[in-house]
Amino acid sequence: MSPLQSRNQLPREATGVGLRPPHYPYVFEHWPEVGFFEIISENFLDAPGAPARHLARVRERYPIVLHGVSLNLLGHADPDEAYLDRLCRLADQVDAPFVTDHLCWTGAHGISHHDLLPTPYTDDLVALAAERASYVQRRLGRPFGLENLSSYVAFRESTMTEWEFYTRVVRESDCWYMLDINNIYVSSVNHGFDPYAYIEAINFSRVLQTHLAGHTRQPDGVIVDTHDRPVCDDVWKLYAHAWKIGGPFPTLIEWDASIPAMPEVLAEMAKAREVRA
């Protein structure tokens, strides 16, 4: 294990849910059995008002991990120090076991696209991403996990597979995997690779957490990572395989659009435990 370990690690078997505003009333009334909640970091950075109050209440009863969408690790510009300051404060505030974000770029030339965008997979970008991820982990003072993308385009100049790129960045940065099983499946269909080969390449002792979510298949066959429905059978099979070769690892259900009532999300979480049993 890396010298950078959290003081309050999650149990490896833990299952959790991405906390979204429609869930608050249910959570505060029922306090469901959830191993941990994951929050979108950007929704709570120096947040005043209702978000901060809700977060404090949830934190009283559950571990909270931070999942960011705006680090812009592979943006052409250097990391945003002010953003990192705020992220560090939030991680300290909730005593997060770990923090995660994506191996991607989100903005450039002063404009934020609020999307998780791919780059070519090349040696020089392995080095750049690893250097920055390592820096972020040092700044945070706690484990930092990188999430693999779901993507819709692939660059001709790539000199390696996505999983080679991903595993090299994690290894060279001494950071961790935030392995999104659904994203592997989505990209495997969109780019025509074997998702099981991807899973086989992962060093599961460095997996902080996995994500599961639903997606949407367009009429042209492209799959879009919409997080708006239950996890599909193919993704459950991939998850079961990952668990078989690399489990246990913390698992989280993400549901970000057409969000159903909390019991339905909890049922997906329970299904994760059944699938791997």
Binding site: A50, S70, T106, H109, I111, S112, L117, L128, V153, F155
Partner: protein
């Protein structure tokens, strides 16, 4: 070229494609795949234009969603289609720059005031939403948002000895209560809106017969509450932003007919008690 320079160039071209305005000409919002940068498309495998279109649509629809959510009433009055056009025009001039997606709306109301003619937004061939009504709706939406986002702060609790302080101290308004003034009955309209905006607009109701109405949007627990304000009560609350209570009452009564002065006398204590109950004030501050 260094790795970072190559990234910068790729990201400039990619960003331009993502932000390309969606084509409205066919009556649906279509990604303008033919307009994407040729060199960028050549650098991508497969059917690059259709794949870039996924990001292009996601960029716009994500932002449209943020504006619809932040401006529920304004979106209802415009209908989603017309609102999306305004949002697209605004974002082409002011694309989002920060990590907080919710802040993409910053500057929108000012832009509407500067860029939209007084006649406002054309709705179909025969109808229009005047700019003043749109701005009023946006301010009401803003009030709800400000109250939601307001930091928790203890409400003012008056101790027995504070009665004397009220003579010379200003009541500091709580950030979890915002006054709104309406020319059209929009607050009531907002309360009845569905959570998802429709493509077609909701008709602007006729304006109030006799001037404006005032409302207080406040937070009670974690819920919004809207309270109608009598005209004199609203004027008193505005005066209290700058003056101590006796001074505010004196200004309010100046030039009023005796019937209105009597109304103030009859209601002032109840208004004050209700304000305390609603957590309208955060503190007492000595007036310099």
């Amino acid at each position: 070229m260094t790795g970072k320079q190559r990234l910068a160039e790729m990201q400039r071209r990619f960003g331009d494609a993502i932000r390309a305005p969606l084509d409205r000409g066919t009556g649906t919002l279509r990604a303008p795949v033919e307009a994407y940068d040729t060199a960028l498309c050549a650098s991508l495998a497969g059917d690059a234009r259709e794949r870039l279109a996924v990001y292009n649509r996601q960029y716009w629809f994500r932002l449209f969603g943020v504006f619809h959510q932040s401006y529920r009433l304004a979106t209802a009055l415009c209908g989603a289609w017309a609102m999306n056009e305004l949002v697209a025009r605004f974002l082409r001039a002011h694309p989002p720059t920060g990590h907080d997606l919710a802040r993409a709306i910053d500057g929108f109301e000012l832009w509407i005031q500067d860029e939209l003619p007084e006649t406002g937004v054309a709705l179909g061939h025969t109808s229009a939403l005047p700019r003043a009504a749109l701005v009023e709706a946006m301010r009401i939406d803003d009030a709800y948002r400000l109250v939601f986002e307001a930091a928790a702060e203890p409400s003012l609790v008056l101790a027995p000895g504070d009665a004397a302080r009220l003579e010379r101290a200003r009541l500091v308004p709580s950030r979890s209560a915002v006054m709104v003034e309406e020319t059209w009955p929009l607050v009531q309209l907002r309360r009845g809106l569905p959570s998802t905006p429709a493509e077609r607009w909701v008709a602007l109701p006729p304006p109030h017969d006799n001037g404006t109405r005032d409302w207080l949007v406040c937070r009670v627990g974690e819920a919004h509450r809207v309270v109608p304000l009598a005209p004199l009560h609203a004027r008193l609350l505005r005066l209290l932003r700058a003056h101590a209570l006796p001074e505010a009452l004196a200004i309010l009564e100046t030039g009023l007919p005796s019937s209105a002065v009597a109304e103030i006398a009859a209601h002032a204590q109840r208004w004050f008690a209700e304000g305390m109950q609603l957590g309208l004030w955060a503190a007492l501050e000595e007036v310099a």
